[in-house]
């Protein structure tokens, strides 16, 4: 009984498994622990739902920023050029 009580109480562990699950399949033992915990804990069920949505959103933020500005703005390039030329002149 002690083990089950521990599983029930440990939201830190459960949220850890919720995250791990989104990167790779859990071991059988981990799956069982998470299932037991989630059956008893509505706070972690809320967390799981939100975490998966945040994961989706993060993907779109990353992909969006990847397709966006791939090139440096001309202003910054000019600044770099001036910086390099100044250094060269001072050598």
């Amino acid at each position: 009984m002690k083990l089950t009580e521990k599983i029930m109480a440990d939201c830190k562990k459960a949220t850890f498994l919720i995250e791990k699950q989104q990167f790779k399949p859990l071991t059988l033992g981990e799956q069982v622990k998470l299932k037991i915990h989630l059956a008893a804990c509505s706070w972690c069920r809320t967390y799981e739902r939100q975490s998966k949505n945040i994961q989706l959103l993060m993907g779109s933020v990353f992909r969006h920023s990847a397709t966006k500005t791939k090139e440096l703005d001309p202003e910054f390039k000019n600044k770099l050029k001036i910086l390099i030329n100044t250094k060269l002149e001072n050598e």
Partner: protein, 178 residues
């Protein structure tokens, strides 16, 4: 002599965009990527006598940039007070406060541009290394093992970073989106 000699005056035109794109993929943040490109050129200027001409110039510069990025990951720990992983749970592992509904489940969250913006702000508060973990997952579809290798972190560290990142992002959204 063939013109293999390095000419720093041409570096920006030739390589700046490619170095910038490379940096951006790793660190995600625009300003930080720019800083890294600048630091790379400055370091390259100082080291250019050591530059062996048989290795291509871009490869050489990219190598310097990689070092700069690795340095950033080691050093950069922004706003540590906001990132405490154990702030969320008590000693027995219980939530300290209830995770509230934050309204990101209504409709299709992917179509919500405002939510995107808030999340991006929240992401920018995370340390560069933590973001790099996710960036590698999403942009290069890397496995957790590959991510660990390319960032030089242990598997245990990797999972802690993922866990803490998401707890912090959720908390940040609850604060700023709710």
């Amino acid at each position: 002599m063939e013109k293999t000699m390095s000419d720093p005056a041409l570096w920006v035109e030739r390589y700046a965009d490619r170095l910038y794109a490379f940096a951006l993929k790793k660190v995600f943040e625009d300003e930080l990527a720019k800083d890294l490109v600048q630091e790379t050129f400055l370091a390259a200027l100082q080291a250019r006598n050591a530059f062996r001409e048989e290795s291509a110039e871009l490869t050489w510069l990219t190598g310097i940039l990689k070092h700069k990025i690795a340095d950033t990951f080691r050093k950069k720990k922004r706003r540590p007070e906001e990132l405490g992983g154990d702030d969320f749970f008590d000693e027995s592992g219980h939530w300290k406060t209830k995770p509230l509904e934050i309204g990101i489940d209504d409709g299709n969250p992917l179509e919500n541009k405002e939510l995107d913006k808030v999340l991006k702000k929240c992401m920018e508060k995370l340390p560069a290394l933590w973001l790099a973990v996710f960036s590698l997952k999403y942009l290069e579809d890397s496995t957790s093992e590959l991510i660990c290798t390319s960032l030089g972190i242990t598997a245990a560290n990797f999972w802690v970073i993922v866990h803490r990142s998401k707890l912090n992002l959720r908390a940040c959204l609850q604060k700023h989106w709710l």
